[in-house]
Symmetry: C3
Amino acid sequence: MFIKNCWYVAAWEHELLDERLLQRTILNESILFFRTSDGQVVALDNKCCHRHAPLSLGRREGDCIRCMYHGLKYDRHGRCVEIPGQTAIPRQMRVRSYPVVQSKRWVWIWMGDPAKADAALIPDTFSLQHPDWRMKPGYLQFQANHLLISDNLLDFSHLSYVHEGTLGGSLDIAQTRPTMERLERGVRVRREMSKITPAPYHQRLAQFSGPVDRWFVYDYLIPGVLLMESGVRPADLRLREREKTLNFHSCQALTPETATATHYFFASAHQSWLEEGATDHIYQSVLSAFAEDRRMIEAQQQLISSTAAADMLPLLGDAALGQFRLLMQRALEAENPQT
Amino acid sequence: MFIKNCWYVAAWEHELLDERLLQRTILNESILFFRTSDGQVVALDNKCCHRHAPLSLGRREGDCIRCMYHGLKYDRHGRCVEIPGQTAIPRQMRVRSYPVVQSKRWVWIWMGDPAKADAALIPDTFSLQHPDWRMKPGYLQFQANHLLISDNLLDFSHLSYVHEGTLGGSLDIAQTRPTMERLERGVRVRREMSKITPAPYHQRLAQFSGPVDRWFVYDYLIPGVLLMESGVRPADLRLREREKTLNFHSCQALTPETATATHYFFASAHQSWLEEGATDHIYQSVLSAFAEDRRMIEAQQQLISSTAAADMLPLLGDAALGQFRLLMQRALEAENPQT
Amino acid sequence: MFIKNCWYVAAWEHELLDERLLQRTILNESILFFRTSDGQVVALDNKCCHRHAPLSLGRREGDCIRCMYHGLKYDRHGRCVEIPGQTAIPRQMRVRSYPVVQSKRWVWIWMGDPAKADAALIPDTFSLQHPDWRMKPGYLQFQANHLLISDNLLDFSHLSYVHEGTLGGSLDIAQTRPTMERLERGVRVRREMSKITPAPYHQRLAQFSGPVDRWFVYDYLIPGVLLMESGVRPADLRLREREKTLNFHSCQALTPETATATHYFFASAHQSWLEEGATDHIYQSVLSAFAEDRRMIEAQQQLISSTAAADMLPLLGDAALGQFRLLMQRALEAENPQT
């Protein structure tokens, strides 16, 4: 069971170039994406209404798609506009079309009631497309339920352990209690650490000569979107003139593929003044770190799937995680009142 | 659920040479086939009645088969005739034996009540073994439900799309409405096209100098057997003296392995006067085309299996397909009145 | 469903050297094993009580294990002794600890009520660790239910067929009826063969000049432990002075991993006076033979899993097998009275 009435990231804009057909499974639904000649992105149910052949094996014909099984042709709205050997086309011959919005490099899809698809609800991922920021786009697939990844993102104490040699580098992260603030559709988490050892990848970027102050402030929003400011600077006030403050802005989004597989879109943007090479260095550091997360979370998923169900016991640091799971549960129940 | 009281093609005769043991799963039942010294084919339940070890891991001893787990020996009728270390052999020590008939290169098996196994019900696949006809035997396994393949064979409009570059070659096939006639245990489909572009593989066989007339007439019978005459000749009457008419006869049979896997036996025979090399050329063309079908049908099966159930919407051209599904459904219900 | 209140072999002692972490699934439970500094073996539920991350991806810290997801640290009893960023540790923060006993090279685990874990119930596997005996330790994993392997071990008539060219070598094994004696928690099986052809691997060890007498006497105990004396010597009394008697003692234990996978621990010890090289020769012979068993039993499991359920029909030689299955069934019912 998934929340349907919300925007999910379906793709990076650059995944839909030219005549390309992109099939992606979202919330167990197989969806075909393509870009029309006017630059809009179309999302259609991938199942031909006739015999359920995949339209993703079909052929672009202008802004239409032809099923290459028996030749039914659909327009960008999912309406069948041609049936070979048949002149009348019944009105019900169509596939579902999903609302899609392109916003700052991401393609968002609305999986629920189209009448509720308000583009104003789309989070502002400004750092993906802004002259002051640079980033390299990331995508991974996790063989795990999306909530396990949300858990991960809502408790950065794992940086001290999972990412000991990459993003972490200091036990102080785990030792610092974050604060959590409730938002209407999510939580705001703030974690500030003072006079700690810099993370290996920060050190390589800025060559700090001593301990640093480091902070994370992020909103984590339904159904699994993270927007984070973070930074690091010398803890010693006298060094702050000579040594730089590093500021980052990260956008991350989880989109369930199935109950045990999740699409993970991410980017960690830095300010444009950083030297050439920093973008790739940061991208590679984050990618290595997310591979560490993936190893842990997929092992966690396998253990949960293969053994008897048991309660998870909360820690004091799990406030944000617990609050977000509660919000998700309520949103799900609001959509499914009988359940 | 499968129809049991009917003949299914189990193998090509040449698959059962010498002492060979052939295991094949049919309708979810694991069956052992072998040929006895008098040339008959035996089909036995592959599960030893003692501990359910597979007899297909056993050893031929004359016309008997010995289970190589604990040494039980069965005769060609499935009766246990030796138990090591035990002289009395209880009557119930036996495995099921299935009625088998060899007819014109195919080995047919009856999966239901043996008392109803009437060899007269076996379709006449004359072109598989006739001096006027030549063919090369074909076999493929599809990871798909047999009904999806029957659907495919009952609507040749797909030739224009799936087989655009092989068996098809002309949109006119899809544009032509076939006629359908009800038979007692199947349907007869007729599709005639006039003045169309020849299919690539026909062109290579006959070098037609212009448009052609092309026709298919086939019976499609429960549980999934196709017997088809087809042909192609110059559309221009004046050319018919100089250019040849190509006549084909095709036999095809679907045998469910499981609910999502199907054995597919086929041959496309041509008249013997065609030049040497034609047999192999036709075989390769058909094999390539069936690989195109397989790609589409397996993708269709995967899409159906992995997404929520939905109705398939019929087209006018689906009359034969719909009629055949109805006949199959009725046959199934007749065998399972309580269902 | 498995019997829980009994000792299962979990590992060979040498699998737990140094700081090694061993994850092994037993009765569908994922368990972490490691050896503490005082030489004891610890078995803990592998699921961290916090978010169910596997402790087997964790880090040894002295005799403790730290979960490398969020840093919880557990002592050898499974008690959480450190939570990063949190001083109070609630009593319920712990993972289950299983009773473990090391006895003569094997590590035994008790999967049920710890109060009933009586080490006196552990079978005496003396030949695994005794100056008069030599052996090489064996382990295989079978993709089959443990009862199918117990069946195999309770009916040695299969030696004549499955192991025709290895451990068997004579049809007389299958022809000889064993005797069976009921034990409190198992059965005692005795099979004595007179004047038979020696097995290939015996012949290579002892170069018998004629027929031999051969015998097996073994106890087969809940939940699947075999302790066997066996031997072979010249049948001709006059040869017994010149030719040696071979005596073996074999310990074998089955531990269910899941309903369709089983850990198989085994060793076949010989008397220490045998020439150098005999240990390895016997080990290789037994390993080859058990690979023959595995092929048959895994095929049997697949056939049973993929086809409709059917009764297995007993033979006269199945008395021990039937009696043992009955004992297992009763032990299971005694633990689960409502079932």
